[in-house]
């Protein structure tokens, strides 16, 4: 693995290896001294063209726990709007000797361009690009699902295992969601069954080719599928205004038809868990009852995010010889 750009680049074996490595990383994080010397002397750049404090902090924490040097580069708010700036920024970071570039960008494909245009020799990690991919989010979701759904809840017996047969329902704004695209791909790779539930306006034309079923009816889906997990996607309130595309009539109607509340929570099988990539719109796609219930693993997802990102950085960088280390 040279870069992590899309879950489509991962075989089942790659993905399981990342999850297993993340489990080892998580074990080290229960020690008193959390820091590992593994990436000492390596430089990880967080290149964020779009605001996302939580994702940046997660990557930063992961890199620091592996003893890497971290540079945070926020291009948001500068006069940067054209692509040339991505190129110039990349060349600058290259000159500074970045071993890995963690990039968040509003344009789908920007990490792919960064990795293939010859602007950097470092490993590129996609931390979310437009409506395309957010592979570490899907990996941390898979890691969380595996912890709860596979084996007997212990740790050791999940090593090497995938999510064969798990039934996962994703609900919300699939159209604009890189989290949905990443999860559909990775969950399929890991053997899970995926059902997407959304108003038809928020399902992309072309999604029929995805390895997932599509439903417009949340209640019917929960009753029929009896899911092992429900993953709620963030919905932006502005999507309902005509300027935002007019995708649904009102927040209230959205919440009624597609929100996860106490009633729907009660309809889930006893073992089912609730996930959300955050940040949540409480009262829109999820109520406080659901978000704060014992079924919710939303807070745990955050902790798992650090372990998964440690695993990704470790696997990308630890074995890597850039030839300049003489």
């Amino acid at each position: 693995m040279k870069h992590l750009l899309s879950v489509a680049d991962l075989t089942r074996e790659d993905a399981v290896r990342i999850l297993d490595t993340a489990a080892q990383m998580a074990a080290t994080q229960e020690r008193e001294i959390k820091k590992l010397p593994t990436l000492r002397g390596r430089t990880v750049v967080n290149l964020f063209f779009e605001d996302s404090t939580r994702t940046r902090i997660s990557f930063e924490t992961a890199a620091k726990r592996l003893s890497a040097d971290v540079i945070n580069f926020s291009a948001k708010g500068s006069s940067v709007s054209k692509g040339e700036s991505l190129k110039d920024t990349a060349l600058t970071l290259q000159a500074m000797g970045a071993d890995a570039v963690v990039i968040r960008h509003q344009a789908s494909g920007a990490p792919h361009t960064l990795a293939t245009a010859g602007w950097t020799r470092g490993a590129v990690v996609n931390a979310g690009d437009g409506m395309h991919q957010h592979p570490t989010q899907a990996l941390l979701d898979a890691y969380t699902l595996r912890r709860h759904l596979v084996g007997d809840g212990g740790r050791a017996d999940v090593y090497g295992r995938d999510l064969e047969g798990a039934r996962v329902v994703l609900v919300g704004d699939v159209l604009h969601s890189r989290v949905a695209r990443s999860n559909v791909g990775l969950l399929h790779t890991l053997g899970a069954e995926v059902v997407l539930v959304a108003p038809p306006t928020l399902v992309p034309v072309g999604a029929g080719a995805w390895p997932a079923r599509v439903s417009y009816d949340l209640d019917a889906t929960l009753a029929q599928v009896r899911p092992d997990a429900v993953m709620m996607l963030r919905v932006q309130r502005e999507r309902m205004s005509s300027a935002g595309g007019g995708f649904f009539p009102s927040p209230l109607e959205y919440a009624r038809r597609y929100g996860l509340d106490a009633r729907r929570l009660a309809a889930l099988p006893d073992h089912a868990v609730v996930l959300h990539p955050g940040p949540m719109n409480r009262g829109l796609e999820i109520t406080a009852d659901a978000a704060d219930s014992p079924r919710s693993v939303i807070v745990e997802q955050v902790a798992n995010g650090v372990a998964v990102r440690m695993a990704v950085l470790y696997l990308l960088l630890a074995g890597r010889n850039d030839g300049s280390a003489a």
Binding site: S81, K82, G83, E84, L86, K87, H105, Q106, A107, S108, G109, A110, H112, T113, T116, A117, D129, G130, M131, H132, Q133, R178, R181, P204, V205, G206, A207, G208, A209, W210
Partner: protein, 450 residues
């Protein structure tokens, strides 16, 4: 005085080999008569045809020459030089320049630059609306009456989306036998659109440009053209649905013509998978089913012409992430090869058909009287000699256009333009532009530039 040319053993429209004698810019004789007359003269230059195909000089209905305004990407001189290399003897220069070609003054300027450069005839396209804003008709009559004699009007790059404005334009140009060339794109359905909306856009997370956004406008426009009895031309048809609508409109007797670009004949939306902006274009590359449909439409005459939509762009506008990149690709120097590969070598069209779609029909639609003519005695010697057996690899850096944004980099294509003649004067010989300092236009060009 132009050179007297003896084209020996060329195959007019791909037919039997014969000789052609060009004297004073006119086809003076054909066959044995040409050989006999040539032998009697002492001022003859010979071009060995060697079985190459002879076509009337190509006519492009859709070229972006970028001057005035973006001379860093192309000028009238560089663009028409590229056109000559591609086999063209006339191009229609699109109106989206800066300032816009929406007045008699600007279209005359472009027309004069073309005359001065001398590589091929430049017929400026006039904007339909002032500043391409889609609100107020530009002075179409003044452009028609100007020295540039504008007959094709287009807001290309933008769609004349207001149905009332479109109706008025269609009606108004009847006064001077003009035609409105529509870039069919419903603007609300394509806000922020990045590529064809379908399986690939869903996966890549790029905002979709749905086929219906083109087809809805094409359908509306053919009905408008029928209602007011006007002539409509549909630019760069890209979808199977648009082909169907145009076919239906023609069957009803509606006076509509349509064009397809070489890239829509060759490439699909699968090209976007690497996020390489060289494949970003408007309208976007569609699916294989659409490619099959435009090929069928071109073969059966539903689509009248192949037009390049040659759109040069600066390197920085393609050397970036997809969303930030400009839309468009160059095409003047590769179009004939693409048509050969997709239509001739596949047995769908003959070389006579190629002459029809790349010369005769575009000249007729643009009301260009001295182009797209039969290969016959007394006709102006606007000619192109093509070696269909040649093969070449596209290297954008070696092209004559000032820009490098070809989507065909590294591709091997069949066919090569050997020579181009503009009214008997060789603008291209042995595949290379003839940079002749004595060419009449060059001196005039210096005067204009001063």
């Amino acid at each position: 005085m132009t050179t007297t040319w003896w084209l020996r053993g060329v195959r007019p429209l791909g037919g039997d080999a014969t000789d052609v004698l060009v004297v004073d810019g006119v086809v003076a004789a054909l066959g044995a008569e040409a050989a006999a007359q040539a032998a009697a003269r002492d001022d003859v230059r010979v071009l060995e045809g060697a079985g190459h195909v002879l076509l009337p000089g190509l006519v492009d209905l859709h070229t972006h020459l970028r001057e005035p305004g973006r001379e860093d990407t192309e000028t009238v001189a560089s663009g028409t030089r590229a056109a000559a290399v591609g086999g063209f003897t006339a191009v229609h220069a699109m109106a989206n320049t800066t300032p816009t070609q929406d007045t008699a003054g600007v279209v005359e300027q472009v027309w004069r630059l073309g005359r001065a450069a001398g590589w091929c005839d430049v017929h400026p396209v006039g904007a339909v609306t002032v500043g391409l804003e889609g609100e107020r008709l530009a002075e179409l009559g003044a452009m028609a009456d100007s020295a540039a004699r504008v007959r094709v009007f287009s807001d290309d790059g933008r769609c004349v989306h207001d149905p009332v404005v479109m109706r008025r334009a269609l009606e108004y140009v009847k006064a001077f036998d003009g035609v409105v060339a529509q870039h069919a794109q419903e603007p609300r359905l394509t806000e922020g659109a990045q590529m064809h909306e379908g399986v690939v856009s869903a996966e890549l997370g790029l905002a979709g440009w749905p086929a219906v956004a083109e087809e809805a406008v094409v359908a509306r426009d053919v009905l408008l053209a029928e209602h007011v009895g006007s002539r409509l031309h549909v630019c760069h048809v890209s979808t199977a649905g648009s082909v169907e609508i145009v076919r239906w409109a023609k069957s009803r007797g509606i006076d509509v013509t349509a064009e397809v670009t070489p890239h829509h004949l060759l490439l699909t939306d699968e090209s976007a998978r690497g996020y390489d902006p060289h494949f970003k274009v408007n309208p976007p590359l569609r699916t294989q089913a659409d490619v099959d449909a435009v090929r069928a439409g071109l073969a059966d005459g539903t689509i009248d012409v192949v037009a390049t939509d040659h759109a040069p762009h600066a390197r920085e506008d393609k050397d970036c992430e997809w969303a930030a990149a400009a839309m468009g690709m160059t095409g003047l120097e590769t179009v004939l090869s693409v048509v050969q590969q997709t239509m001739v070598d596949t047995g769908r069209m003959t070389w006579a058909d190629v002459a029809r779609v790349l010369s005769e029909a575009p000249a007729r639609i643009g009301r260009v009287e001295d182009q797209g003519r039969p290969l016959a005695v007394g006709e102006p010697a606007n000619l192109v000699v093509v070696d269909p057996a040649a093969r070449r690899v596209v290297v954008p850096e070696e092209q004559a256009t000032a820009s490098r944004n070809s989507p065909l980099r590294g591709r091997e294509l069949p066919g090569r333009v050997v020579a181009t003649f503009l009214r008997g004067r060789a603008t291209v010989l042995d595949g290379r532009p003839v940079d002749d300092p004595d060419r009449p236009g060059v001196a005039a060009g210096a005067a204009v530039g001063a």
